[in-house]
Amino acid sequence: MDWMIILQQLVNGLTLGAIYGLIAVGYTMVYGIIGMINFAHGDIYMVSAYLTAICIAVFMSWWGWTFVPLILVLTLIVVILFTSLYGWVVERVAYRPLRGSQRLAPLISAIGMSLVLQNYVQISQSARTQGVPSLISGHPLRIGSEQNFVQITEMQILIVIVAFLSMAVLSYIIQATALGRACRATQQDRVMASILGINTDKIISIVFIIGAASAAVAGVLVTLNYGTFDFFIGFVTGIKAFTAAVLGGIGSLPGAMLGGLILGLAESLFSGFVNTDYKDVFAFALLVLVLIFRPSGLLGKPEVEKV
């Protein structure tokens, strides 16, 4: 067993986990506030990958910009804005009319929305695998000897920094602002919050927007890192991010990040040392096991069924 290989897998896992954590935010907050799995969230992330490529292509090949930092920052902002719009529209169209209906209705509607988003992107942008040019390609950081080293790319560093910054901003919003207090109040008791003058419909919309925005950050980072994507990436990534949300304790924001990191590290170590073919099986099995044996996750509160 080589320590360098373990370290390398830990570095990869950390990057992966930061991404999962960002996407998990959308699942965990939406579940916390209206108690439904936003099945279309993975596809919102997929849309953000397409938006990233479109933005970069518009800036670079259409308008001929060459200054990379400006392109990156503007891409991030534009993608966040448009993805938030997608999150908002999905909530407005498919979930809001179902408020207070029977239990299965929102989930079935969400599955329908997920199919719609996938097929919509497939029809408009073709089913081809798409890509972005690699914008950040410096010399990766190497630690260790000539043959035996741990490699950290600039992109990986960027991913971890941006992901943790976004989480910090998000935590600040939720913990310390009036908006965040309104979110938490709505999460605790929607009826009571609306009696106290909180527009709960608006808060729920904002939660969807926050979720979509963090998925957008993840989408930009992943697209820049891997370079290729297709219309189907939302499904598996979405399920894994949901696993992360459940692992950390659904409804808990730090839990989402923790769950993401644990899942990322576990998956990376599994594919490094056990078997790459079965890494998705591993993630799904983890999801099933957590849901069966510890549905409240690591940081979540156990759900008490009231009659």
Binding site: Y31, M36, I37, V47, Y50, L51, A53, I54, A57, V58, M60, S61, W62, F82, L85, V89, A94, P97, L98, S101, Q102, R103, L104, A105, P106, L107, I108, S109, I111, G112, M113, S114, L115, V116, Q118, N119, Y120, I123, S124, Q125, S126, Q130, G131, V132, F235, I239, F242, V246, D277, Y278, D280, V281, F284, A285, L287, V288, L291, I292, P295, E305
Partner: protein, 418 residues
């Protein structure tokens, strides 16, 4: 002119529609208006405008529907009623039923091969819909991994014939039992769950089974799939030349060789199974177990406090559904002659769910009609085949908003006083 409500305002409607169109334009702008072409882009600026215009008119139409009596009568649903509607006529249309069954049995002898294969596919989906209907519609357990049982059925025929030498007729009960036990095994750990978590766990199970089928190359053939043998009839084979010692069907009866005979056989057996399963499901609904399924769907806590054994009820629903799904899998394998894991993706589960949702959760007739329509419609409308999934998805959303109990909601028969 239509009568409108007092609170209908033309100005407000148009303002709302303009706002909706603006948002829609922004929504559609990047994905449909700017098309990726390698690392460059092409403009398709007219597309977002067209789509926004459609949204504008749709928004106006919705306002008119919601605010006029005629529109309300036609389109506004009954809301979220419990789905139990007492009808006191029993078996009023049984002679029509006989006619339909008779037409179903003679259909293959007059049909072309193409429409026969379409009909087989439609019946396979009817079977899948019936199976999932027991789990989702009656018992209220949202199973997103239903395709796993379909896969178990199909693979138990293909691999069973490869390793154990099973034929079509032995594979049918074998697959049914195997799929039912899979249903019970997978159902056992999820007994405590309901709603969304149950859906996700079953989705996880479904994907795990598919990934194992895909990766365990030595046993299942992996992505290359496995071949399933042709069915036989009393030892008569349906290939051009029989294997050693066998007799081909067409030689025995002195007919010319044609591939249509095997499809006729599959169709007839499948039709029989569908009829039997329909009857079983309809009858089960009126039996204590069926009533327990539906009671459990409405309120699990109340059921358990009234002494209904939720373990038995849930597991029976899971294995009943799985068994029907497994049977459908055998027919699918026999019909295709070849299966691989790409036929058993999550999308297939979503499609079966769409059938159940459109037909009406719990409604047997509705599910049968939905399955037939959803399989035949894409054949008739070839040019819309790209939009098939889009239409399925949209109809799932719309159905949940407009008619959560489906187009043909179930009705419960009352006991007649005699």
């Amino acid at each position: 002119m239509l009568d409108v409500d007092a609170d209908f305002s033309t100005k407000q409607t148009i303002l709302d529609a303009i706002l909706a169109a603006l948002i829609a334009w922004l929504f559609f702008l990047p994905i449909t208006g700017v098309l990726l072409d390698g690392y460059a882009v092409q403009s398709a600026w007219h597309q977002p405008f067209v789509l926004a215009l459609i949204v504008f008119y749709a928004r106006c139409l919705i306002a008119i529907i919601v605010h006029t009596d005629l529109g309300k009568r036609l389109f506004v649903g009954k809301g979220h009623y419990a789905g139990v509607e007492v009808v006191d006529k029993t078996n009023a249309h049984w002679h029509w039923l006989l006619v339909i069954v008779a037409i179903g049995f003679v259909f293959p002898f007059f049909s072309s091969k193409y429409w026969l294969t379409v009909a087989i596919l439609a019946l396979i989906y009817v079977l899948l819909g019936l199976g999932l209907n027991v789990v989702v519609g009656l018992a209220g357990l949202l199973d997103l991994g239903f395709v796993a049982f379909y896969a178990v059925g199909a693979y138990s025929y293909a691999l069973g014939s490869e390793y154990l030498g099973l034929g079509f007729w032995t594979a049918l009960p074998f697959a049914a039992v195997l799929a039912a036990s899979f249903g019970a095994i997978l159902g056992f750990p999820v007994l405590r769950m309901h709603g969304d978590y149950l859906a996700i766990v079953t989705l996880g199970f479904g994907e795990i089974i598919r990934l194992i089928l895909n990766n365990w190359t030595a046993f299942t053939g992996g992505p290359n799939g496995a071949s399933a043998p042709l069915p036989t009839l009393f030892g008569l084979e349906f290939s051009r030349r029989a294997k050693q010692g066998g007799t081909p069907f067409h030689d025995y009866f002195g007919l010319d060789y044609s591939t249509i005979y095997r499809y006729i056989l599959i169709y007839l057996v499948l039709f029989l199974v569908v009829c039997v399963m329909t009857m079983v499901v309809v009858r089960l609904r009126q039996m204590p177990i069926g009533r327990a399924w539906e009671a459990l769907r409405e309120d699990e806590t109340a059921c358990r406090s009234l002494g209904i054994n939720h373990v038995v009820v849930k597991l029976s629903a899971f294995s009943m559904g799985a068994m029907v799904g497994g049977l459908a899998g055998v027919f699918f394998a026999a019909y295709q002659g070849f299966i691989n894991p790409s036929s058993f993706t999550f999308f297939e589960s979503a499609l079966i769910l769409a059938i159940v949702v459109l037909g009406g959760l719990g409604s047997v007739v509705g599910v049968i009609i939905a399955a037939v329509v959803l399989t035949i419609l894409p054949e008739l409308l070839r040019e819309f085949s790209d939009y098939r999934v889009l239409i399925f998805g949209m109809s799932m959303v719309l159905m949940m908003i407009w008619r959560p109990r489906g187009l043909l909601p179930q009705r419960r028969q009352a006991f007649r006083r005699t």
